[in-house]
């Protein structure tokens, strides 16, 4: 897999690689307990968040299974870094990836996460040639579940009490979309957007 051309854009957002100067913006959301649970790097203070940022700065390519590709989500209007999206290459032969996204809670409810996630899915299928991309979320996290369903991912799994998390039984949803399904739904979206314009 080759190195993709970056940054990539949407109407309101730019998705780009992380930079050292992003520390303050990442500090603003990365250490929040509600966000922490879903992140690879556990970070509670500035030193740990800095280490997490260093980690994400190295996630610039998908060359072998197990690699993660992470992009910062930046609002074009004021250059504010509001979260990140990533793709994790899961499977050596079946071209499977997991999508993850984190948005600073201050910037929620404006459709930014959906905008970034949709762009990342298109990117993942087109640039990396994935066959299927899936995303997981806690069953209690209704906002994420609505988002994933809303952009056209299918609910594939609803696990009940399949694992303990901090002493409590976990309930988890899996959403997924295949490359051909995404191509189809994108055509519908583009057609609708064109009609409205």
């Amino acid at each position: 897999m080759t190195l993709p051309a970056l940054p990539i854009e949407t109407d309101r957002l730019e998705l780009r690689l992380f930079e050292r100067a992003d520390l303050e913006a990442v500090m603003a959301y990365h250490a929040l307990p509600e966000v922490q649970r879903y992140l690879d790097w556990k970070a509670r203070d500035r030193v740990e968040v800095k280490a997490a940022l260093e980690g994400m700065r190295r996630q610039t390519r998908l060359t072998r299974p197990g690699d993660t590709f992470t992009l910062a989500v930046v609002r074009k209007s004021d250059d504010a870094l509001i979260g990140h999206v990533s793709l994790h290459w899961h499977d050596a032969t079946a071209a499977q990836a997991e999508l993850r996204f984190v948005l600073n809670p201050v910037h929620r409810r404006q459709g930014y996460a959906a905008e970034a996630v949709k762009r990342m899915l298109t990117f993942g299928f087109a640039e990396f040639g994935f066959h299927r991309i899936f995303a997981r979320c806690d069953a209690k996290n209704q906002a994420s579940a609505r988002l994933l369903k809303g952009i056209g991912m299918r609910l594939e799994a609803h696990y009940r009490e399949h694992a303990l998390f901090n002493g409590e039984w976990d309930e988890e949803l899996h959403f997924a979309v295949l490359d051909r399904e995404w191509q189809r739904s994108r055509k519908v979206q583009e057609f609708t957007a064109h009609r409205v314009a």
Binding site: R132, E156, R160, E161, H162, A163, A176, L178
Partner: protein, 193 residues
């Protein structure tokens, strides 16, 4: 309740008897009976492995002989299913200890099609799940199957398991896209039913 740090080595009391069946440890003498169905193309169709040669089958049986208790994650208890009338070995059932900390288990089953449509598989898997909840104290048990394996998922539905997942083209198995169902049941649901 076991104390933290104690070594848990669940080893259920065997054999398990049901109305028409005995679930017992494998013995070396079972190779021919197992080979009778594991060599079949129709049996292997929805399994991860292809049809077995007699040699692989003998090795598989040899492995199963020791699978009668659990010590570590991914250990399994595998039992031969025998008819009480006639004594034929008609298939095999297994419980895999998928997570020790989260008390999760997976069950699997393979039966000789010559003995189909008599409810033997359902009877055997029901007994296996009951034993797994009662003696291994699992919290949740799941089973997986190819979505085209109607007999397999109907069995799970008969046992009251819920379909928790339908994965589409999530893996390549034997060179083809795999569509898979996962069914599951909690100990609380099993006891209540």
């Amino acid at each position: 309740m076991l104390e933290t740090g104690s070594i848990m080595r669940p080893s259920p009391e065997l054999p398990i008897e049901t109305e028409r069946l005995i679930l017992r440890p494998f013995t070396r003498g079972d190779v021919d009976a197992v080979f009778a169905y594991r060599q079949r193309e129709d049996v292997a169709r929805f399994l991860f492995d292809g049809p077995m040669t007699r040699e692989t089958c003998a090795e598989a049986v040899q492995t199963r002989v020791r699978q009668i208790s659990l010590a570590d994650e991914d250990d399994r208890i595998t039992l031969a299913v025998e008819r009480r009338d006639g004594g034929e070995l008609i298939g095999e059932v297994t419980t895999i200890w998928r997570s020790v900390a989260d008390r999760q288990g997976e069950v699997g089953y393979i039966f000789n099609p010559d003995f189909q449509h008599k409810g033997y598989a359902t009877e055997a898997v029901r007994a296996l799940i009951s034993m797994s909840f009662a003696e291994l104290d699992l919290h949740r048990i799941y089973a997986r199957c190819d979505t085209r394996n109607v007999a397999s998922f109907q069995l799970m539905e008969r046992l009251g398991m819920r379909r928790e997942a339908h994965f589409r083209e999530h893996k390549l198995i034997k060179g083809a896209w795999d569509d898979q169902y996962i069914y599951a049941i909690l100990q609380s649901e099993w006891v209540a039913a």
